[in-house]
Symmetry: C2
DNA sequence: CGACTGGTTGATGACAGTCAACTGATGTGG
DNA sequence: CCACATCAGTTGACTGTCATCAACCAGTCG
């Protein structure tokens, strides 16, 4: 198969109107904060990627979310300032801190309407995620692939061919299934000619077919309007 | 079994600092809005209860959330003003409209810090919900019972004995399982002496045991600190 | 080159979904 | 007020999906 390039390592910072003085770099596999930590604010991913997970009483981890550039981290601290989840970088990343003070005092340079918009986007993602969790395995995987692809496209990157920054175990934990199931289903996708894969490089050969699987129907699913229009406009 | 009283019909409006001029009453089984509707704002439940659900392309409903007094509705419209879900009352309810204008313009009477706090609470609920969805059936049911009970206790109502406002089908859709599974598991709970049920009346005989099931361990789970302290304080 | 981590594949069993029948509760019209 | 229709809830039998356990292969790193 063709040599895939890793486009998740680009320091793409589109839609960053102002260079944030609160921006900083954090290395691969480092903790941003852990469950129970008191947070100073929420964070925004400028480049790189992180995983957010919780550890249950039983001791198993469950990945809540992968954050890509543009995503917010630490919203679970909005209620009382305490994080209920742990955040680890998947690769070297650039983040910005948005202090709670700025949010509550509505600092000049804090874009409040955009913040509200972002919160809404987050809600919609979480809801879609939880809906997806009660679907069968292949739909969940298809949903993940489409989501990942869309996220890249939104940032102007290649949507058909990419390299994921997380390992299979992480993806499986995120999708709520065993690694083996993920592996098997991916193999099936390959056999059906829907995707090609080599290690963490993935090529989507038939995006529309995958999208149909994600939507759970064989009919044309064109209800995927972007609706990125902002309420604040 | 003893005659259970229905405490979900009380017009309890605790923590309502101001009588909202935007409050209104909506009858049982009426739609507040549907998927795709343009919203005027978000809503707050003062009394009664509603269910929020989405209909997939395949045509099946999935219940996202039940809202009780104090809960916010329509957060999925924050991104662009369009609702991605449908809301139906489970009983006659009293709601307040919080217009987007009030939120974006920061009206005097709009309690911004409390709003941010509420958003955080919502996030935490959604995350807990999605984590729960990948647990086995009995844990999900136990989680639901504990959650319902806690919600009542928080409003000063009886936590051990209550009447749910939703039917089995709704609960099953919410928990992402078949009605039959719910029915069977509930029957098991009864046999084990954990709960008593008669129609929609439910009595929790051993809350701690149920909580342990929800947490998935047989050990004492005391990590349930309330943490209702507000960030805004 | 071994040792380790990450990823795949195979065999087996359990949990839970589906189909179906049935009971109990609620509501309606004659 | 009863007969009937309808809806909600329960229980049983069967099946399929997916988790688990296990072995194995591939890639990476010291």
């Amino acid at each position: 198969m063709s040599h895939l390039h890793n486009n998740t390592q680009l320091n793409t910072m589109n839609n960053m109107s102002t260079i944030d003085s609160n921006a900083f770099v954090i290395r691969e596999r480092e903790f941003l904060f852990k469950m129970g930590d008191q947070l100073e604010g929420i964070y925004r991913v400028n480049s790189g990627s992180v995983k957010i997970f919780k550890t249950t009483e039983s001791g198993d981890d469950q990945i809540i979310r992968f954050c890509m550039p543009g995503d917010l981290i630490g919203l679970d601290g909005l209620a009382d300032g305490m994080s209920r989840s742990t955040v680890v970088t998947l690769e070297t990343s650039n983040l910005s801190l948005i202090p709670f003070k700025s949010i509550l005092n509505r600092d000049q340079k804090f874009d409040y309407p955009d913040f509200i918009h972002q919160l809404g986007v987050n809600f919609n993602h979480d809801i879609e995620y939880s809906m997806m969790l009660s679907q069968c395995a292949d739909r969940r995987i298809a949903w993940f692939l489409i989501n990942y692809s869309d996220s890249l496209k939104k940032r102007g990157l290649r949507a058909e061919e990419f390299s994921v920054s997380m390992k299979r175990t992480d993806i499986a934990l995120y999708l709520g299934m065993a690694v083996e199931t993920l592996s098997r289903e991916l193999a099936t996708f390959c056999k059906r000619g829907l995707v090609k894969k080599y290690l963490r490089n993935i090529e989507l050969l038939d995006i529309e077919a995958i999208r149909k699987i994600a939507n759970g129907d064989t009919l044309l699913a064109d209800t995927h309007s972007d609706s990125s229009e902002s309420l604040a406009a």
